[in-house]
Amino acid sequence: MNILEVNHLKKYYRSPFLRRKVRAVEDISFAVKQGEIFGLLGPNGAGKTTTLKSIVGLLKPDGGEIKLFGMPLDIPQRERIGFLPENPYFYRHLTGYELLNFYAHLFKKHITAKKIKEVLKMVGLEHAMHRKVGGYSKGMLQRVGFAQAILNDPDFIILDEPMSGLDPIGRKEMKDWIFKLKSEGKTILFSSHILPDVEMICDRVAIIYRGRVVSTGVLSEILQEKVRFIEVTIEGLDEKTLENFGKVIRSGDKLMLRLSSEEEKDRLVSFVVEKGGRIISVAPYRKTLEEHFMETLEAQ
């Protein structure tokens, strides 16, 4: 079941002085399945944040359709979603606890004080819950932002650049929280331009460029089909015996060959076994997401 469906989303901004349309999102379509982690990738200005803001209601689309939980966008649906904006801003005069307590009042369901403390503990702010948010560091702000996004135990969580500004420990923690949410059956949509993070977390991605989706798919499939070469390490044979298979590189008493396909690899393995040699390792080298991303953009 699709938790979210975005069909041909369009959004323009009007330049206040020239009164002409500035395209932010030209035509974006994608769907997020229940229980998956979906990544929206793209360079700065691609339209990721505009898309997310249109989903949560901060912006009104100029065209297209958005369906959440199978229905057009409506306010009651927000009981079941959580949103973390990019570089979140909070009421500086409130403590972390007071802030979450304030947000708790905005939901129809009753969120207890115990739940608030649990959430703060989960994001590692238990020690700072009675400190004013105005005194929080960037990392702490991101944590409390995440806390307010999951406070209502949402089914669908939307995160806009959640790793932005976090140190490596913070990023690791954020990834752990996201995996934990997934293990609880939640669906997560997040945007990022930090590809290694996306590669580690996401089940599916959509690559956005200049307001359009240029590539969508399951991450493992996207990267699987982009195997660059297969490196085979062999022992017990000499270069001359293997020269038909391509360039041979010696590394000590081992020889390494790079093959371009599975079939070639199968032939080589059979040949080595026949000739009495030993296969030390077979390692397929896939294109990284970054390489795939750059190639896709260059193709545009």
């Binding site: 949560v56 009042h105 905005l106």
Partner: protein
């Protein structure tokens, strides 16, 4: 209801930290205390001069407070982007605005109450007079300011604090003078002027009917119907203002 209360109390707490509030209260307190100096120059009218001064001061300060804080209340939320995490929650725009109005009204009410208490206290000290009737004026002023708060919030949904401050002030002036304009139009007998005067009198806020300062000052009877008129009119007019504000704010986008 829960969200209205939450937003209102948060607005109130945020406003309490605003230095404007403290400055207004301290200024008001000191000026009321200093009104003692008016006694010798009042030429035998110290009671009315001190009372008048106090009542006028509280009203002026209430108006200034509404304008200083009320016109910024939405603008600051949008500028600081704290609104992002609020409007993405299951909160209707109308609930959000009512919550803001509630918070603003609570702020103005607190200062008004403290200043009225100050007048009451100093009238006892300077004039040896227990001025209970000052709370009657407080009742009417509260409902007038409720309308003005609504005006400030409506204006802040679509314009900057300076513009909404100026327009709020203008509306306050018209609200207190529309009856004279209406009377003037009857004398001038110019149709366009009559239409404008009547429009201002009936369709803009009207504070002339609830201006009971003279009755308070001279201990004259106040029409009992006025006690019902003030809250009814105030609530109805605020519904009018907030409905427009809601329809405008719903169209608002947050880039």
């Amino acid at each position: 209801m829960k969200s209205i209360l939450g937003i209102g109390i948060n607005t109130f707490k945020e406003g309490l930290r605003d230095k404007t509030l403290l400055s207004v209260f301290i200024s008001g307190f000191l000026l009321i205390a200093a009104s003692r100096i008016l006694v010798p120059i009042s030429i035998g009218e110290s009671y009315r001069v001190i009372t008048d001064f106090g009542l006028a001061l509280v009203e002026v300060l209430s108006v200034l407070l509404t304008i200083f804080i009320g016109t910024r209340i939405l603008y600051d939320e949008i500028e600081r982007k704290t609104i992002y995490t609020v409007v993405t929650k299951p909160v209707r725009v109308s609930e959000f605005l009512i919550g803001k109005l509630f918070g603003l009204t609570l702020l103005v009410f607190s200062i008004q109450f403290l200043l009225f208490l100050t007048i009451f206290l100093f009238s006892k000290i300077y004039l040896h007079f227990v001025f209970w009737r000052v709370f009657v004026w407080f009742f009417f002023l509260f409902f007038e300011m409720l309308i003005l708060n609504g005006v400030a919030i409506l204006l802040s949904t679509f314009t900057t604090p300076i513009t909404s401050g100026l327009i709020s002030m203008l509306i306050y002036i018209i609200a207190n003078t529309s009856n004279y304009l209406k009377e003037l139009s009857q004398m001038v007998k110019l149709p366009i002027f009559t239409y404008i005067a009547n429009f201002l009198y009936y369709f803009l806020p009207n504070f002339t009917l609830t201006n009971v300062k003279t009755e308070i000052l001279y201990n004259l009877p106040i029409d009992k119907g006025l006690y019902l008129f003030a809250p009814s009119y105030s609530i109805m007019y605020v519904v009018f203002l907030l409905t427009i504000a809601t329809m405008l704010f719903e169209k608002r986008e947050f880039y």
